[in-house]
Symmetry: C2
Subunit: 367 residues, 2 copies
């Protein structure tokens, strides 16, 4: 494919938002990356960075009808010295290709996408905020653009990357949350699309989230769709428990997303010689462990929060309090280490971060 | 809400396609219906019929990311005398509201939508083809348009109806098809979104369909996601079997779509005093019945094909031939009667059809 990225700079730079009032995902930067797919035009082609702007699509575009979409989410962080770091971005494009495979979307060239991403972030470098906890959220996504109402894989696609400066997830220190165990609705099931990052998994989750919020819960704890016994994920995060000194997390079984944060946490724990195991975890086991005073910590993990401690689990009419509703020692240590590595404050023994603006843009072609 | 429909007629009517080469879902008519949702603007508002044209959306629109969409599919038929008939259109808007509820999309006013649909079809009346088996396919759909990357129900939506003249499903007479029983992939599961007509169910189905086609099958027979034992649907159709003189179809269990054709067929069979029962049907039962020579007919049902006889079921390494690979007597009778009612050739004892161009457009406001 054509790997020369055309860059068209905006003539009217937007005003940067007030760094103290950054929320999540509502403000977008000056530029975006686009690339289109058409088999007859050689597959993915015409990679370009252009001013952020609306896109125009025919109402019969498949994406509006049959949900053939995938997306990713990662962040760029500004270090104290002003360097811009990405955290394991290659994992996101690797996962995107797994999602593509499940959704019958043609695969992308992972190393080229990484170059494109770095070039885009470099162009909008000034948009990476520097206040504690803030970052630039990066959203690569693919939509199906064939204008056809038949149910079949689209012949045309559009890949885009948009960027959004986001505020700190925790504004007043980390607050453990209350999570509701979901017994009626299912996010995904073996044989479904749970291991892919595709829209349908998220639209399926909205209803349960509404119910949980009405019960004062901030997220849903999903159980497996088959026996409604085994823990899957919490909201849009993977989940870990510390039970009797050992860290356990549900094994990747096809319906759980292979989180980059989850993977990093497992590596960190092993590096620290803290026992960690991936296996099935049943709700029954959690209840028993809680009863025996051995459910010591629980936390969700994901790009947005990094680590989100669970203070209470709502199960039927019972509330299981965990660690006195306080953040646990390991949760805190994982949070501090990961955010430290991401922002260049802590040594990076795994070579997880990669810097923007040091190698890329050589192959691109500015106009 | 504002129920006055603004109509802006096109100035440049497109050329109608050659009626002999109509396919499915690639050609669209001169006009489309649009209506937007914003709670602060009173909910659904600004219903309008305008020239068919592309729509412009921000790349951060939720619909591109989290699959919060629903759709419907129905047809308008031209009778010999030139009247335009719709088949049970109120059922589609009723079902759309069920889908809306599952997807956390605000409900629509079903009777107003029916008026709007009739007005649109009346405007594009000349596009309803008249050759045997042809029709005007109608696609109402809703997309989520809030420009926000948070995972939560959108605050803005767009409802649209587009129209596409389509050719005969069966060009050379009804041909029974080979169907592959799917053992790995799952379309939907109890607690999921299977009973809703939403994009994610269809994107989840693409992979299995690809595998089935490679095995010479035209569709997939879906089993339940929990035990992988019970029949759910076939491709994007409901499914019926005639076993030992009795017609059986999987009961509506939450993961199966409540098809309008399915519902009509059940009513017709009861009207004819042919025994019909909605219950769980296992693959094991089908194999046993086939072995005993009692699997007499099998057919899928849906708006596209009306009735699609199954000639062969591919199960592991076995091929179960049904009725010598020929269309069964009841399948044929159902097909003839339903298509007859739809096109005004056969008496309509249930008041299923409603005519376009007799009552509507009084409330609309042409420009
Ligand atoms: C369903 C789901 N699970 C888990 C995660 C965590 O993945 P990651 O750590 O890669 O952000 C995410 C996304 O962020 C998700 O959407
Ligand atoms: C999954 C699925 N099942 C069944 C059907 C049949 O429904 P109907 O008879 O209303 O067309 C459809 C749609 O046409 C469908 O998409």
């Amino acid at each position: 494919m054509d790997t020369q990225i055309t860059i068209i700079h905006t003539r009217t730079k937007k005003q940067k938002p007030d760094p103290d009032s950054l929320g999540f995902g509502r403000i977008f930067t000056d530029h975006m990356f686009i690339m289109d797919y058409d088999e007859e035009l050689g597959g993915w082609h015409d990679p370009r960075i252009i001013p952020y702007q609306p896109i125009t699509l025919d109402p019969s575009c498949m994406t509006f009808h049959y949900g053939q979409t995938v997306f990713e989410g990662l962040k760029a962080y500004r270090t104290k010295e002003g360097r811009i770091l990405l955290f394991r971005p290659e994992k996101n494009f690797e996962r995107m290709n797994k999602s593509n495979d499940r959704l019958c979307i043609p695969s992308i060239d992972e190393s080229f996408m990484l170059e494109a991403l770095k070039t885009l972030v470099e162009v909008d470098r000034d948009w990476v905020p520097d206040a504690e906890g803030t970052s630039l959220y990066i959203r690569p996504f693919i939509i199906s653009t064939e204008t056809y109402l038949g149910v079949s894989p689209s012949k045309h696609y559009r890949f885009m990357i948009i960027l959004s400066p986001v505020g700190a997830y925790y504004k007043d220190g980390i607050n453990p949350v209350r999570i509701g165990v979901e017994k009626e609705f299912v996010r995904s099931v073996k044989g479904g699309t749970g291991m892919a990052k595709t829209g349908g998994n998220y639209s399926a989750s909205l209803k349960a989230q509404e119910v949980a919020e009405a019960l004062g819960c901030s997220q849903v704890l999903w159980l497996d769709g088959i026996e409604k016994k085994y823990i899957e994920e919490v909201g849009s995060m993977n989940v870990f428990f510390k039970i009797n000194g050992e860290i356990v997390t549900p094994e990747l079984n096809g319906s759980i997303l292979d989180g980059v944060t989850r993977n990093s946490i497992i590596q960190l724990l092993k590096h620290w010689d803290i026992p960690v195991i991936e296996r099935r975890v049943s709700m029954e086991e959690l209840i028993q462990a809680h009863h025996d005073g051995k459910l010591e910590e629980a936390f969700g993990t994901g790009t947005a929060a990094v680590v989100s401690p669970v203070g209470e689990l709502l199960w039927e009419d019972n509330v299981l309090e965990i660690n006195g509703g306080q953040i646990g020692e390991i949760s805190q240590k994982l949070y501090d280490t990961l955010t430290g590595i991401q922002t260049g404050k802590v040594e990076d023994p795994f070579n997880w971060v990669s810097e923007v603006g040091t190698s890329s843009s050589s192959k691109s072609h500015a106009i």
